[in-house]
């Protein structure tokens, strides 16, 4: 099945982030990781804040996806991301700063605080950016 390719497209509301061929696409759905290869059953699922891996031959593209949707149909994966960045596009310094900021904020915050959820989501995004950015080095 290795010679079966599928198309993969990642779009955010503002632009097309990635478009290319792939052997397999691995994403973090809200029900867990899922890998999609050619001839997968058509599927629609929401995505967590997580890494999207696009495997193509021996290469792998890592994309940070900040939540959204994945649709697979007719050998084409479409990711409707709320926001997405390729590993190479990530601003590591900024993510690092955000992470520290949020960690401090969370450490100081008491349970039930307003904005706690927002801070946590923000922290998760920062961590994801760092993780994905770390993949290409």
């Amino acid at each position: 099945m290795a010679d079966h390719k599928l198309r993969c497209e990642v779009v955010s509301p503002e632009r097309v982030v990635y478009s290319g061929e792939a052997n397999m696409v691995v994403a973090r759905g809200i029900e867990g990781e899922l890998g999609i290869m050619s001839h997968h059953i058509p599927i629609i699922t929401p995505l967590e804040i997580g890494e999207l891996r696009v495997k193509h031959d021996n290469e792998q593209e890592h994309i940070a996806v900040m939540g959204g949707y994945l649709e697979f149909r007719e050998d084409k994966v479409t990711v409707l991301a709320d926001a997405a960045e390729l590993a190479s596009q990530i601003d590591v310094a900024r993510a690092e700063k955000k992470k520290e900021e949020r960690e401090r904020q969370l450490a100081e915050a008491k349970a039930g605080d307003e904005g706690l959820v927002g801070a946590e989501i923000s922290l998760r995004k920062a961590l994801l950016r760092l993780k994905v950015a770390g993949r290409v080095k």
Partner: protein
């Protein structure tokens, strides 16, 4: 001759104004292209979104989401006029405000309680001054609308709709038809019209037996608010592009009329100058003649 001097000063001043309007025209022209490109790059997402919604709509009943449900009775209406933060763009803002006011009167006539959620400094200023009831005012948006900005507005409206404190929402914005033409448009944002998301479904063959994770209804629940976000983003982007196009047209007209004005003033000035010279000659000749005769 003080009048001729004044005209000379006037010509200079108009020339300077023309320089400014000319520059603004060129800046706007450059910005249109970028704004257009932004609309273009947002298109794939929007198209895909509608496609996915279409697919889900086949599986889920039409009344299955509160954002699709028409409230009864309709009491509270919100109108969202999208205007610009800056002026000098012709009738751009006034068109929107006029349409919004007409819509306001129409809804009030039906006994509804109408409020505005104004976007753009121009609209906010006008509506406040005229004394309308503002639900919120957003003047902080840039001329490059982002998803986050759209989300701020959309989420608030969706939340109110779900609470039931809001029964209908209209967007009023300039639709970017082309560089030459922008048209004010009224779009019903909430409730979402059925045909909007099921439109293309009819022609699509039932080829895909979808699997939904976790299930179709929860996917729809998650997707529809996002759809609202994209509709708002789209309106903001269209408006931003239209603003630049309107400004370019307005500035082009201003540049042209400055040119006409300079031409007329120069003509007047030359005529006055010539008349003066003629008169001086006549005086000299007259004087010389008088001397000869004496």
């Amino acid at each position: 001759m003080s009048k001729a001097r004044a005209v000379l000063g006037r010509i200079k001043s108009v020339e300077k104004t023309r320089q400014i309007t000319k520059t603004m025209e060129m800046v706007a022209a450059a910005k249109i292209k970028r704004a257009q490109a932004r609309i273009e790059s947002a298109r794939p997402y929007a198209i895909k979104m509608v496609e996915v919604l279409n697919n889900i709509a086949e599986y889920v009943g039409p009344d299955s989401h509160p954002l699709l449900k028409v409230h009864d009775p309709i009491q509270n209406v919100v109108i969202v006029p999208i205007t610009s933060n800056r002026g000098l763009c012709g009738a751009f803002n006034m068109n929107i405000l006029r349409q919004s006011e007409a819509l306001y009167r129409q809804e009030v006539a039906e006994g509804r309680n109408v409020k505005f959620l104004a976007i753009g400094r121009k609209g906010v200023g006008y509506l406040r001054f005229t004394g309308y009831d503002l639900l919120a005012a957003h003047t902080e948006f840039s001329d490059k609308p982002t998803f986050v900005e759209a989300k701020v507005i959309a989420d608030r409206l969706v939340e109110m709709y779900l609470e039931g404190t809001l029964d209908k929402v209209y967007l009023v914005f300039n639709h970017f038809k082309s560089v030459m033409e922008q048209k004010p448009m009224i779009h019903q944002l909430l409730p979402i019209k059925q045909e909007e998301i099921t439109d293309a479904a009819a022609e699509k063959k039932q080829e895909a037996g979808y699997e939904f994770e976790p299930d179709a209804v929860s996917v729809l629940y998650d997707l529809l608010p996002r759809y609202i976000d994209t509709v708002v983003l789209r309106a903001l982007m269209e408006s931003a592009a239209s603003e630049q196009a309107a400004r370019r047209t307005a500035m082009k007209n201003a540049t042209d009329s400055a040119g006409d004005m300079i031409e007329n003033l120069t003509r007047w000035y030359n005529r006055a100058r010539q008349a003066q010279i003629t008169q001086e000659i006549a005086e000299i000749v007259g004087g010389a003649n008088a001397l000869q005769e004496a």
